[in-house]
């Protein structure tokens, strides 16, 4: 199993730093997803590892040795660019054999390798089919076999699922991960879709404007985002502004605009500092009586989504807060709404210092 280490890789296009001192490592057999908005440098990073671009500085190691001096075909890395498609007029077999023929291997060796790659993805029996005779999932597996046939153990996938309709995208996520795990591959998978990243990844590397924002498990990135941008990129957020009244032993008291006084968990803040408070909609609890306290609000919309109902609640100040309520509370919503009370659990708050460059700039998806 191949281990990958990226050390301080920088790449400039003109004045723009596509990658700025990017360092991280991927363990053998690990599935790492690189996620970030358009222009984050995701594709540039993959192309540098694949050997199609040279970094301005920095190094890349596979199992401890630098691969920068090696030509792309010597790196033993399989790269699947985004928008990758099969040759429509070629059979599954010929599609997979294409890369080997380009390397001028003899037909016997080619057959051996194609058979092994297609068997791995469970499609040897479809070797004579044409791409249009296959389902979306099967095509994806053939594309993977094409990448695997050269014997690479490090797989670089650039937006492998983005061309698919959402439903197929969702179903194939798990298939892709399963296959990589079964074969013991080390994978770097690029996507702008954070939900896809969460579903597949052992760890997610969040990239923005060429800089790593966070590198951790899906759970940690989602629950403890390193900064405001990651909080907003990784899922829906309610954003509140306020200033710290008191901060002591992990408890912060905040005067929050629209809400008033709020006590939450948080560290490293001082009285008087301006802060941004983030609550995920599923962490905002809707209550129907004021017994346990809570902030008064009025439901202005409730939309049924299956597993959840997404509810928008207007506060007396006019501020709108979003909450995901489990669907089994549908009846209660209808019976006791629209006047409700909001509870903001102290342990679910994400507190950040107010950004100097302003909220809009920090939250921009680009």
């Amino acid at each position: 199993m191949k281990e990958l280490t990226v050390i301080e890789v920088t790449k400039k296009f003109g004045y723009v730093k596509a990658l700025n001192k990017v360092s991280f490592s991927v363990k053998g057999g690990e599935y790492v997803v690189i996620s970030g908005p358009i222009g984050a440098g995701k594709t540039t990073l993959l192309r540098i590892i694949a050997g199609l671009l040279e970094p301005d500085s920095g190094d890349i190691l596979i199992d401890g040795s630098s691969i920068l001096p090696l030509a792309p075909e010597e790196r033993n890395v399989a790269y699947m660019p985004s928008g990758f498609t099969l040759f429509p007029h070629m059979s599954v077999y010929d599609n997979v054999a294409y890369g080997l023929r380009a390397r001028e291997l003899n037909e016997e060796e080619i057959k051996k390798r194609v058979k092994s790659a297609l068997s791995l993805v469970g499609l040897w029996h479809r070797r004579n089919s044409l791409p249009h005779e296959l389902s979306g999932g099967m095509k994806q597996r053939v594309a993977l076999a094409r990448a695997l046939v050269i014997g690479a153990e490090l797989l670089l996938l650039d937006e492998p699922l983005s061309a698919l309709d959402l439903l197929l995208n969702i179903e194939l996520r798990y298939e892709l991960r399963r296959l990589a795990k079964t074969l013991g591959l080390t994978v770097l998978h690029v996507t702008h879709n954070f939900e896809e990243a969460m579903a597949i990844a052992d760890r997610i590397l969040v990239l923005r404007r060429g800089v790593i924002q966070q590198y951790d498990t899906p759970e940690v990135v989602y629950k403890k985002p390193a900064n405001l941008f990651v909080a907003s990129f990784s899922g829906e957020v309610n954003i509140l502004e306020g200033s710290v009244i008191k901060s002591k032993r992990g408890i912060v008291e905040i005067e929050v605009e629209d809400f008033g006084y709020l006590k939450v968990e948080g560290d490293g803040l001082r009285a008087g500092e301006r802060v941004v408070l983030v609550y995920r909609p599923e962490d905002v609890i809707v209550k129907f009586s004021q017994e346990e306290g809570g902030y008064e609000g009025k439901i202005i919309s409730a939309r049924f989504l299956g597993m959840f109902i997404v509810v928008e609640i207007e506060l007396p100040s006019g501020k709108v807060i979003r909450s995901y309520v489990p669907s089994y509370l549908m009846k209660e919503l209808e019976r006791y709404g629209p006047n409700v009370y909001l509870e903001l659990p102290p342990d679910r708050a994400l507190v950040y210092l107010y950004p100097r460059e302003g909220l809009t700039k920090v939250l921009a998806m680009g």
Binding site: M198, G235, E236, F304
Partner: protein, 363 residues
């Protein structure tokens, strides 16, 4: 009062059936979504309503008036597509009031219309920006403002959020619906994204291979899918188990799924082959066996998805079930667990004559 009605609309491209006998009615001020897989005919449907494409059979009525021979510019529709068409050399304001219908108006009126749209769409700080200075989400809002500037009350949207990053697209769903409701418009919105449709639509038409499979509110489609395809397409991932009705037990039927006896409500009689649709979010995970529809299983896969956890659980008889639970419940891969299926949450379909795989295939 835009109300849209399609009667027996069909469209063919050579041998290919794009639409076959489509009948539907969109009410005044309704937000109506048309969803289906790529190639199901949904864009063609929208183009026929707009007057961009002419149907081969059937009629289109807008406000009760037959419009089959009415050209696009006289149909009173505002159009918006996945690709964003703005004039790059014009600022936001000029783009919005560009439409010839608008320019023909009295200048005072033009300013009034422009201001109203800019306020409604919260674009006031951006009115002097050029398109390339705006995010794709904002550009699409400008395109929307321009579509509305001509005074159109019927909005036709083809994958309007398709080119926008997923996070901004979610925010725009809320804005789009609010705007249509606040302005009293009628909207017909085409998308392949069922999540988007559920959030935004009053009613949804599910299209497959050019035919309308089902029309209903999000709740109706979710709780009462008429075919296994709708059950697969709506509500996210789903489980389909094939079995046979083997016994009756009071109100219940017992269905044998590979040796696992599952109790459910069903109108299908003894000996009938059936398909059970079991939604992943409706499976309860327990720490011990409880109730008669409880089964032992082992966790094969686990993914954290923020609002929920997704597990793949292999039951005693080898059947694999996708299960979604609250993110508080934590099981690990390899853990043994129990699941419980509630009888009234299982939807039972007659086994389709073409086989289950074909019946739910995505095309």
């Amino acid at each position: 009062m835009p109300e849209v009605m399609l009667v027996g609309v069909s469209k063919y491209y050579g041998d290919v059936v794009a639409l076959e006998d489509v009948n539907l009615k969109v009410f005044d001020r309704e937000y109506f979504c048309v969803i289906g897989p790529s190639g199901c005919g949904k864009s063609t449907l929208l183009k026929i309503i707009a007057g961009i494409v002419r149907q081969d059979k059937g009629n289109v009525y807008i406000n009760g008036k037959l419009v089959d021979t009415v050209p696009i510019e006289e149909r009173g529709v505002g159009l918006m597509f996945q690709e964003i068409y703005l004039f790059p050399h014009m600022n936001v304001w000029d783009n919005i009031v560009y439409s010839p219908n608008v320019r023909a108006l009295d200048p005072v009126e033009v300013v009034r219309i422009g201001r109203e749209l800019i306020d409604t769409l919260s674009l006031s700080f951006r009115r002097k920006n050029f398109p390339e200075e705006l995010s794709l989400g904002l550009q699409q809002k400008v395109a929307l403002a321009r579509a509305l500037a001509s005074g159109a009350k019927l909005l036709l949207l083809d994958e309007p959020l398709g080119s926008i990053d997923p996070r901004s697209a979610i925010e725009l769903r809320f804005e789009l619906r609010r705007l249509v409701k606040d302005l009293g418009l009628t909207a017909i919105h085409v998308t392949h994204n069922q999540e988007e449709a559920m959030l935004i639509a009053d009613r949804i038409a599910v299209l497959r291979k050019g035919r309308v499979v089902q029309i209903g509110t999000p709740e109706e489609l979710y709780f009462n899918p008429q075919t296994p395809f709708v059950a697969r397409f709506i509500g996210g991932e789903n489980n389909f188990l094939v079995g046979e009705v083997v016994r009756e037990e009071g109100y219940f039927k017992l269905v044998d799924v590979d040796g696992l006896i599952i109790r459910c409500y069903s109108k299908h009689s003894l000996g009938k082959k059936v398909v059970l649709s079991i939604r992943p979010e409706m499976v309860f995970v327990l720490n011990r066996r409880r109730g008669s529809n409880s089964f032992k299983g082992v966790v094969l896969e686990r993914s954290f998805l923020g609002k929920y956890l997704r597990y793949l659980i292999k039951l005693e008889n080898g059947v694999k079930l996708i299960v979604k639970t609250s993110p508080e419940l934590v099981l690990n891969e390899g853990d043994e667990t129990f699941i419980n299926l509630q009888e009234d949450r299982i939807i039972v379909f007659k086994y389709p004559s073409e086989g289950i795989d074909k019946a739910i295939t995505y095309e």
